[in-house]
C-alpha cells in the first residue's frame, strides 16, 4: 500500500521521507531507501503521476545531457578546448564538435576560440565520473561577441525563460536586446547602454520573485512602466 506523506508543492528538506511504497518512483532530487522515497535536497516536492519529483530551490548547477549552457574557454589544448561550466566540473569540447570548418593539422586553435571567449554550447554527454562533452553543432550554438555576461541562480533559469520562452522574449522585445540564457545560470545580454540595465534589473526581479504566481503579468507591467519613462 503506497502512502504519500507530503502535500503537493510542500517544502521538503534533505532526508525527509516523501512517500512509502513500491508503487511510486523516485524522480529528480529524490532517492529510494528500501520502501521509502527520500528527499535529496531542499525544494518543493510534488507528485507527478507515479513519480515523486522535487523542484530544487537552491544550489549550484549540476550538468545534464541536453542542456544548453554558456561556457568560458579556460584552456586551449592540442585537440580541443576546456570550458568552464559554472558547475563543479569543467567540460571538454573536441575539435570535431567545435566547428564544421576544416582545421588544418597543427593549426593554431586560438583562432577559433581563444582563452576567455564565451560560447553557447550544448551538453552531449555526462559520464558517471562527471566528464562533460559539449558540442557547438546545433541551432543557436555560437561564440558570443560583444555584450556582457551576468550570473543568476541556475534554479531560477526556467522562470527567466518562461513557458516556451515567453518571459525572455518579452524582455528582448521591451529592451530591444539580444539575450541568451544558459541553463547553467549564465546569461548573455547585448543591448544599447540605456536598455542594458533595465534588462538586467528585470532578470533580477524575476529571480527574486520566482516563487510568486502570475509573474509574467507582473513583469509585463513592470517593463511597460519602465519603458514609458
Amino acid at each position: 500500500m503506497t502512502k504519500i506523506q507530503i502535500k503537493d508543492k510542500e517544502i521538503s528538506v534533505p532526508g525527509e521521507t516523501l512517500a512509502i511504497g513500491m508503487d511510486v518512483l523516485p524522480g529528480r532530487g529524490t532517492y529510494r531507501d528500501g520502501e521509502k522515497i527520500v528527499a535529496n535536497r531542499l525544494g518543493l516536492a510534488m507528485v507527478d503521476g507515479r513519480t515523486i519529483k522535487l523542484i530544487q530551490l537552491s544550489g549550484r548547477y549540476a550538468p545534464k545531457t541536453g542542456d544548453t549552457i554558456i561556457c568560458k574557454v579556460i584552456d586551449v589544448g592540442f585537440n580541443g578546448w576546456r570550458l568552464e561550466t559554472n558547475s563543479a566540473y569543467s567540460a571538454m569540447m573536441s575539435m570535431k564538435d567545435a566547428t564544421s570548418q576544416f582545421i588544418q593539422r597543427g593549426a593554431n586553435l586560438t583562432q577559433f576560440y581563444d582563452l576567455g571567449d564565451h560560447v553557447v554550447c550544448k551538453i552531449v554527454n555526462v559520464t558517471s565520473q562527471k566528464l562533460i562533452d559539449v558540442t557547438m553543432k546545433g541551432p543557436g550554438l555560437r561564440k558570443l561577441r560583444g555584450g556582457r555576461i551576468i550570473e543568476v541562480d541556475p534554479n531560477k533559469v526556467p522562470r527567466i525563460i518562461g513557458k516556451q520562452g515567453s518571459m525572455v522574449m518579452m524582455i528582448k522585445d521591451a529592451t530591444k536586446s539580444n539575450i541568451s540564457v544558459g541553463q547553467n545560470g549564465l546569461i548573455w545580454i547585448d543591448a544599447e547602454p540605456k536598455n542594458e540595465l533595465l534588462a538586467i534589473n528585470t532578470i533580477r526581479k524575476i529571480e527574486n520573485e520566482s516563487h510568486t504566481a502570475g509573474l509574467t503579468d507582473k513583469i509585463k507591467g513592470y517593463l511597460e512602466k519602465k519603458v514609458q519613462k
Binding site: G116, H118, L144, G146, G147, R148, I149, P193
Partner: protein
C-alpha cells in the same frame, strides 16, 4: 582580462554610464562608517562602500624611537588580504597588492601630518608610542584603497590611549585620552579606462584598468600624497584632471567621517 568585457566597459563609459548604471564619478551606495567595532583594539572602524567592506584596528604600544628621530613616535601600517574576502587572495606572506595598500594608507596619514609624531613621544631617545594600524578587508568588491584609508582614519579618530604607568602598558585599563588627529586626509582613487576617468571601480572594472592615481587631499583641497598604478603612463593634462576629480570626491567622502 577578457577583451569582450573590456570593450563593453569602454562602450558603456562612452555612453556616460557603467556596468551597474552609475555615472562615471559616482561612488557606490550606501557608504557606511561604524566606529568601535572591536573591543580589544584601542580604536577600530568598519567601512562599507557598496559591497566592499573593510575593518581597521589601531593598537598602541610603546617602543624605542628611531635614532634619527629621537623625539618622535611612529606609525606602522599593515594590510592582510584575507582569502575569505576575495577568491584571488592567497594565504601567506603579504604580496605586492597588500604591501601597496598598506603603503598608500601609510603615506596618506604620514605625509599629511595627521598625527603629530612629536606628541607620541613619551621620553626622548628612550620611549615613544607606536601606532599600529591593521587593515583587514572583509569583502573585496573593488576599491580597497579608498575604503581602507577612510577606515584607517576613522579608526585613528576612535582610538584612545590604554592605561600606562610610565613603565608598562595596561591594555585592560582604558583612558579617555584620545589620539589627537590634526588633519583628515582622504584618499580617492581615480581610474583611467580608455580615455575616461572614473572613481570607485567594482571588481570587473578593476580588471580593465589602464591607469590609476590615488589622490590624498586635505580639507582645504591641498594634496598630501599620490600613488600611481596601472600599466599605461599618464600625461600632465590627465593627471591634473584626475587631481580635480580626486579632490572633489574627497570632499564628499569627508562628510562621512
Amino acid at each position: 582580462m577578457e577583451r569582450e568585457l573590456r570593450s563593453h566597459i569602454i562602450k558603456l563609459l562612452n555612453a556616460d554610464t557603467r556596468l551597474d548604471g552609475r555615472k562615471l564619478t559616482d561612488y557606490r551606495k550606501p557608504i557606511e562608517l561604524e566606529y568601535g567595532v572591536t573591543k580589544t583594539a584601542e580604536g577600530s572602524a568598519r567601512v562599507k562602500i557598496g559591497e566592499t567592506e573593510v575593518m581597521v584596528g589601531v593598537k598602541l604600544t610603546t617602543g624605542e624611537p628611531y635614532p634619527d628621530t629621537p623625539d618622535q613616535g611612529t606609525i606602522i601600517v599593515g594590510a592582510e588580504l584575507l582569502p575569505m574576502s576575495n577568491p584571488e587572495f592567497e594565504p601567506g606572506p603579504p604580496g605586492i597588492q597588500a604591501i601597496e595598500l598598506a603603503r598608500v594608507v601609510d603615506r596618506g596619514i604620514r605625509e599629511s601630518k595627521a598625527l603629530d609624531f612629536k606628541k607620541l613621544c613619551i621620553k626622548p631617545e628612550e620611549k615613544i608610542w607606536m601606532v599600529i594600524i591593521d587593515i583587514c578587508p572583509i569583502n573585496d568588491a573593488g576599491n580597497l584603497f579608498d575604503a581602507s584609508s577612510l577606515a584607517a582614519l576613522a579608526a585613528l579618530k576612535d582610538a584612545k590611549y590604554p592605561g600606562f604607568d610610565g613603565e608598562k602598558v595596561d591594555y585592560k585599563k582604558k583612558t579617555d585620552k584620545k589620539l589627537e588627529l590634526e588633519k583628515l586626509p582622504i584618499a580617492v582613487t581615480v581610474i583611467k579606462i580608455g580615455d575616461k576617468f572614473i572613481v570607485d571601480p567594482d571588481t570587473e572594472e578593476e580588471e580593465a584598468i589602464d591607469g590609476r592615481l590615488t589622490v590624498s587631499s586635505m580639507e582645504d583641497g591641498s594634496l598630501c600624497a599620490l600613488q600611481k598604478g596601472g600599466d599605461t603612463p599618464l600625461t600632465e593634462e590627465e593627471i591634473s584632471k584626475m587631481l580635480d576629480i580626486g579632490i572633489e570626491k574627497g570632499k564628499e567622502l569627508r562628510k562621512k567621517l
